[in-house]
Symmetry: C2
Subunit: 196 residues, 2 copies
């Protein structure tokens, strides 16, 4: 399969989903958001469902890559996690908060969609828990329950996403809240200097 | 307007929204969920939008009534707030987590829907902030920033709602998390005895 073409189709899917909503998403509209014909899209993806699953797989893969932080210091890894979750991409090309929210609402009806959100959640919680564990071990952080901090950070990120979509709130508000939580739980915030 | 009829239409709207989703919600399907004819529904509500606005108004009104706690003790008021947010109603009749999530995803496109979610959010934050303020004043709670605790509790409730819908998670998991947050911030959880 031609990677460049499928990449373009997947990006166009995100744009069309954000623009028209899940219910009004058609292969035709996806084609209009790209330089690819409807026939070519059908050649690569049998159904809209296949395409949405590929879109979610791609989203998870890209998020995973963003989280694959080179740094070994847990404080740097935590700062980079927050950047990945709360900083909009520079191109804005892969920010589909409304589309993503609509897909979440589809999860109860589509098993494969639910599985992907469970996978994403599991990944987020694992990353945070491992950072907290390492930071506590290295005495960069105060004693804390890694699983509980991970669940707290992840649930706040879920809530922040809702607030962006439903209330039109700036995600920075939730980031601020999370940083304060981390300050109280770990005795450290990403704002503070690593070498301080 | 006949209150009993409009109440029945509004309840049927919630059921149909939960069952068919926003995109597939029709006056016909709402009629099928009630004992009322499509013609009668059209007589009471001009458009699907009017009906959804009435549905949200009703939801806010009922939630407000649930929060209108008789108790004066801030500890009882906090426990009753958590019950209102996290305990499913006994009949299950007014639990529409998926439908509500879909409406949140519609907020960017419908100003009146967004206004209602902003109103609901404002109410939740005000209630929690006022409980925290009173509890700190009465020395039932440790010193805390009422606005910050209110935002934290509300954002976690937003996140818990998403987790129920997207992941199929039991809301009790988020409640547990919120109670732990309150324990650390206020030195008190709703599990503890008020007279202890």
């Amino acid at each position: 399969m031609d990677t460049e073409t499928t990449d373009e189709i997947i990006t166009a899917t995100g744009r069309a989903l954000q623009k028209y909503g899940y219910a009004n998403l058609t292969m035709q509209r996806i084609a209009e958001e790209s330089s690819i014909t409807t026939a070519a899209i059908h050649y690569h993806f049998d159904t809209k469902e296949d395409l949405l699953n590929a879109f979610l797989d791609d989203l998870i893969k890209r998020f995973e890559a963003q989280l694959a932080c080179e740094a070994r210091d847990p404080r740097e890894r935590l700062a980079s996690f927050l950047d990945a979750v709360y900083t909009p991409s520079e191109t804005g090309d892969d920010d589909f908060p409304v589309g993503l929210m609509e897909l979440k609402a589809q999860a109860p009806y589509h098993n494969r969609v639910r599985e992907r959100f469970l996978e994403l959640d599991d990944m987020m919680q694992s990353v945070v828990a491992s950072i907290v564990r390492d930071g506590v071990d290295a005495e960069h952080f105060e004693e804390a329950n890694p699983g509980e901090v991970a669940r707290l950070v992840t649930t706040l990120s879920n809530g922040g996403h809702t607030r962006t979509v439903a209330l039109g709130e700036n995600p920075a508000r939730t980031r601020q809240l999370v940083e304060r939580v981390l300050e109280l739980r770990l005795g450290w915030t990403p704002n503070s200097e690593v070498d301080a």
